[in-house]
Amino acid sequence: MSPFSYARPTAVQEAVQLAGPHARFIAGGTNLIDLMKENVERPQRLIDITGLPLHEVADTVDGGLLIGALVSNSDLAWHPRVQHDYPLLAQAILAGASPQLRNMATTGGNLLQRTRCLYFYDTATPCNKREPGSGCSARQGLNRNHAILGASEHCIATHPSDMCVALAALQAQVHVAGPQGARQIAFADFHRLPGDQPQRDNVLADNELITAIELPAEGFAAHSHYLKVRDRESYAFALVSVAAALDIDGHVIRQARIALGGVAHKPWRNPDAEAVLIGKPATAANFRLAADLLLDGADGQGRNNFKIPLARQAVVRALTDAAQAMEAA
């Protein structure tokens, strides 16, 4: 751990003015503190944003929800509107971490958690994400948890969030503030693939701050399901997770969303896999078709090859459960 200065601004503009390449925003600190202890992150300045007015959950005019970046994961999961209108998001949040961590972790911070790649956390090993140009130890090494989609020769890490997988399926918008003002980023565009810059997890500039997440009105409350497959029942990151959401009219699917977690550098979606279901009945055969399209181009690194068939099966199971969700409720 290295010395750092500490600031606790009370206004968003003040916070972003303090930001820069050697500064980090800190809210719940559930990931950043660990990374600092391991010398993976060595910020010279910590900007504590918990004093910013970003703690509210508010209805939007078009029936959606605006979630302040500092709303805790626990509060969000148990918020009445999330429980009622966005059960997919509630399930995904509650599948992550532990109650203690969810009490501390924030909505904005959840988007910014770093990969769980073993090499990223151990400064004794080469890692392009931690130290660009040093190499990727995982490609030939312990890559059971790594990407099967969208990886590059420089990095095969995955994004570890559960919440983000649901947000991807729900097509949330990320509200961001910077010195030049505010902008919105579609969730699908927020995280990036590693390419030749694996040190960059997302498209935020150094001095940009997430202020809120906006959910559209459509929450697929009747037919959604979050399935997380992991090595133990709690407090484990996903090997594969699926956020499945369907809009079903009688027996015909009107709209489908499928996002995969644990398989790529970002929550993984493929418009073709969703389009193929539209106008079709909710059958296992159709779900398999969607799963095949979603996994199109999947490539294992050796120890994670099992994720490809696992993800296929998980997609079919999650869609099946989503289709039946209403009946069960």
């Binding site: 751990m1 290295s2 010395p3 391991e38 010398n39 769980r116 073993l118 090499y119 956390y121 151990d122 400064t123 004794a124 090993t125 130890s137 030939q140 090494g141 312990l142 059971r144 497959v229 090595d231 133990r232 029942e233 709690s234 407090y235 484990a236 990151f237 090997l239 099992f306 068939p309 696992l310 099966q313 998980a314 079919v316 199971r317």
Partner: protein
């Protein structure tokens, strides 16, 4: 979770046999109990360990200038500036040492394994030390390393273990067998990971002596080690471990944080605290990976004709670590033709270390899975197969067991579990998209006793002070010794004060092997008997004593009083006897030894039968252990509550071993990589189904006076095999490599 506690046919004298609450429970939940890194002293300094990133090679240069320039930094300790250390291996050989040359922290420039401590920063605050550690620049020269057991099997040599001689004719036995299995099992490295990380607080005493609060299972082992390694005056070191936050074997040997903390304290002539990080908890001993080949043959009735168990395990380049890995295959079932073989492969790693039920955990796993395979090959119920090969004798030693109620474990466990309703074919039980599987396995552990001493002191207020150097690693030693002393002395348990975990107290063995109660408990019992003799003699000297002419068998010690059997109105409070004796207290100390004359003709062991139900999600491969019944034969149980906790902990550990636990090594780097609790998985509550513990009635007048065999390890042995066997029954897939993660079932 529940437990069946049936009255034993010959119960122990109360308060033994009662489910007494932990006497140290209040102190632990209120934070009053202090652990090694909790102790403070004036001008305490703080250490931070720097670990090697390479697996093999040499330190070329250590540049500590930047670190030393930082505020508060007092010392950067390395092989270049350490205090003088002993030269010969004997000085480093502790009570649990493996054969070879023990690791010497900061001894020279050689790197023997990845994660090796190479330097230590000492500063006025922990934060200063940690920050400075990142500023110490060390240059290494790497040399090729080998860390992959599977790739180096050809380098195996015979383990320095005394195995039972081969008996009978295995080839002939196999030739006449109608059912045969020849199978290979693999178990991975596992790290102990007690909740309390290893830590030492070394407090400099005014006379130059060292008072050391250490996380250890052997205060006297550590004391002697330090005296030898640093050439310190005998008596100048006192090691204290009143409370130990779990250990599981990790505290059997003095660990390197102790040596480093003492080095720094001697160098600076100041008090030093050094606590390892969770990541550093992966940089010393562990349960070694094994590759085990089992060859079994039986006749058509399932009677074993041949057993062959060949094991290869990993060790370090500097020590040959051995454990009782294969012996179980020669004793658990009756078989007249047995061959056991045990080899080691030295690698560029740290030496393995005894870990809860060392050897049996891995060896019985392989045996009990192979027995299950044999049951299917012979077309016999796995439980029946075990009963058909039941043995009353330990054929390794050619001795009868002092007691063995394993048959009762099988029958009571099976009944409670509902084993009779099992359908034998794999994949024959289903519930929705889950396949159900039922499996069984046997467990066994030695019932040992070691030499131990204890002192009991009765004061004028009638309080009984019981002391011994042994520790309580969370197993309930404080509580059980309280019960033993109260029963043996005839006083209320509230009057008993147990003081343990201090090298200055009467000699005790390492706390391990499930022999603490057998050893230290026997010493306490005998010390109480000796004190009772003194008390009677003192009572006889009192004027007009009603006990003047009576013998020991004419009186009883009960409720803190000495009482005449023939006339219960004639009684004296023990406190009164002490006061009348003129001294403020009366005491007795004994050195208890196993009654070897009595024990010698017998083999002694605890046994278990473990029944498991798993649910396997067929499409996703997820395994859940929904039900476990563990039936235990461990003699008489001194405290059913703490004993049950031991078994529950063992079962949960077994679930982890079967499904989750594995320290993953990157062999290119020669480094364990999943060194955190986020990535090194042990079960969480949600992974634990219903667990039921049964203690079957087992009387044993041979093993020790208590008739108690210890329960620290037996709860774990066999659990992983029962789970693996249940997974086979559920899925038809035989997974021979632990842990059974879902990818292996897809």
């Amino acid at each position: 979770m529940s437990a069946t506690v049936k009255p034993f046919s010959v119960p122990l004298e109360a308060p033994m046999g009662l489910p007494m609450d932990r006497v140290d429970g209040h102190a632990k939940v209120t934070g009053e109990a202090q652990y090694a890194a909790d102790f403070h002293s004036a001008d305490l300094t703080y250490g931070w360990v720097i670990s090697s990133p390479i697996a093999h090679g040499r330190i070329v240069d250590i540049d500590a200038r930047a670190a030393l320039a930082l505020p508060g930094v007092l010392l950067v300790l390395s092989h270049l500036n350490r205090p003088e250390l002993a030269s010969y291996d004997e000085s480093y050989t502790d009570a649990d040492a493996a054969e070879g040359s023990p690791f010497r922290p900061l001894y020279n420039d050689r790197i023997l394994y990845s994660g090796q401590p190479v330097a230590m920063v000492v500063a006025k605050t922990l934060e200063q030390a940690r920050m400075a550690a990142a500023q110490v620049h060390i240059e290494y020269r790497s040399e090729p390393h080998q860390t992959d057991l599977n790739a180096q099997l050809g380098q195996a040599h015979k383990a320095p273990a005394e195995l039972p001689k081969p008996r009978g004719d295995v080839s002939a036995g196999l030739a006449r067998s109608s059912a045969k299995v020849e199978v290979e099992y693999q178990t991975p490295a596992e790290h102990h990971n007690p909740m309390e990380p290893h830590a030492s607080t070394v407090v400099m005493q005014p006379d130059g002596g060292l008072l050391i609060y250490d996380k250890t299972q052997g205060t006297q082992n550590c004391r002697t080690y330090l005296e030898q390694v640093f050439g310190l005056e005998p008596g100048s070191v006192r090691v204290v471990a009143h409370f130990v936050g779990g250990a599981f074997g990790s505290g059997l040997r003095p660990q390197y944080q102790l040596t480093l903390a003492v080095m720094a304290a001697l160098k600076l002539n100041r008090s030093v605290r050094l606590a390892l990080t969770r990541q550093q908890m992966f940089t010393f001993g562990y349960r070694p990976p094994t590759v085990q080949r089992l060859t079994l043959g039986s006749d058509a009735d399932g009677k074993l004709q041949a057993v062959k168990h060949q094991a290869i395990a990993q060790t370090s380049r500097f020590e040959d670590f051995t454990e009782h890995l294969v012996e179980w295959s020669g004793m658990l079932y009756h078989c007249d033709s047995v061959e056991l073989d045990y080899q080691l492969v030295p690698l560029d790693v740290f030496t393995p270390l005894d870990m809860r039920a060392p050897g049996a955990t891995s060896g019985v796993f392989a045996l009990e899975c192979a027995m299950d395979e044999l049951a299917y090959a012979a077309g016999i119920c796995p439980l029946q197969l075990r009963l058909r090969n039941y043995t009353e004798r330990n054929q390794n030693e050619d001795k009868p067991y002092s007691s063995k109620a394993l048959r009762e474990c099988y029958s009571e466990g099976a009944e409670r579990f509902g084993w009779a309703r099992r359908t034998p074919e794999p994949r024959s039980m289903r519930d929705g998209h889950e396949l159900l599987g039922w499996g069984v396995a046997t467990g066994v552990w030695e019932a040992m006793q070691q030499k131990a001493s204890a002192r009991v002191v009765l004061d004028g207020e009638g309080r009984l002070h019981v002391s011994s150097a042994t520790t309580d690693i969370g197993t309930g030693t404080y509580t059980v010794l309280t019960q033993i002393a109260a029963a043996a002395m005839g006083v209320d348990s509230d009057a008993v004060h147990v003081l343990i975990g201090d090298s200055s107290l009467p000699t005790a063995p390492l706390q391990g092997g499930s022999f603490t109660i057998s050893s230290v408990g026997s010493a306490v019992q005998q010390a109480c008997t000796a004190l009772q003799k003194q008390l009677l003699e003192a009572a006889q000297k009192i004027e007009d004593s009603p006990f003047a002419d009576v013998s020991r068998d004419q009186v009883v010690f009960i409720d803190g009083r000495l009482r005449l059997k023939a006339d219960p109105t004639k009684q004296l409070a023990l406190s009164e006897i002490v006061r009348s004796s003129g001294s403020g207290q009366m005491q007795a100390q004994v050195d208890a030894e196993p009654d070897s004359k009595k024990r010698e003709p017998y083999a002694t062991a605890s046994h278990s039968a473990v029944f498991v139900e798993v649910r396997v999600d067929e499409a996703l491969g997820i395994v859940r252990v929904s039900r476990v019944v563990s039936a235990i034969a461990a003699g008489r149980v001194v405290n059913p509550k703490t004993a049950r906790s031991q078994i529950l902990g063992g079962v949960v550990w077994g679930i982890g071993m079967a499904l989750q636990e594995e320290t993953q090594m990157d062999h290119d780097l020669g480094r364990f990589m999943n060194h955190s609790f986020a990535e090194y998985h042990v079960p969480v509550h949600a992974d634990m189904g219903e667990i039921e513990v049964i203690f079957v009635d087992e009387q044993d007048t041979i093993v020790n006076a208590l008739g108690s065999k210890g329960v620290g390890e037996i709860g774990l042995v066999g659990v992983a095999a029962a789970i693996a066997n249940a997974v086979y029954h559920a899925t038809g897939k035989r997974i021979r490599q632990l842990p059974i993660t879902l990818d292996k079932l897809l």
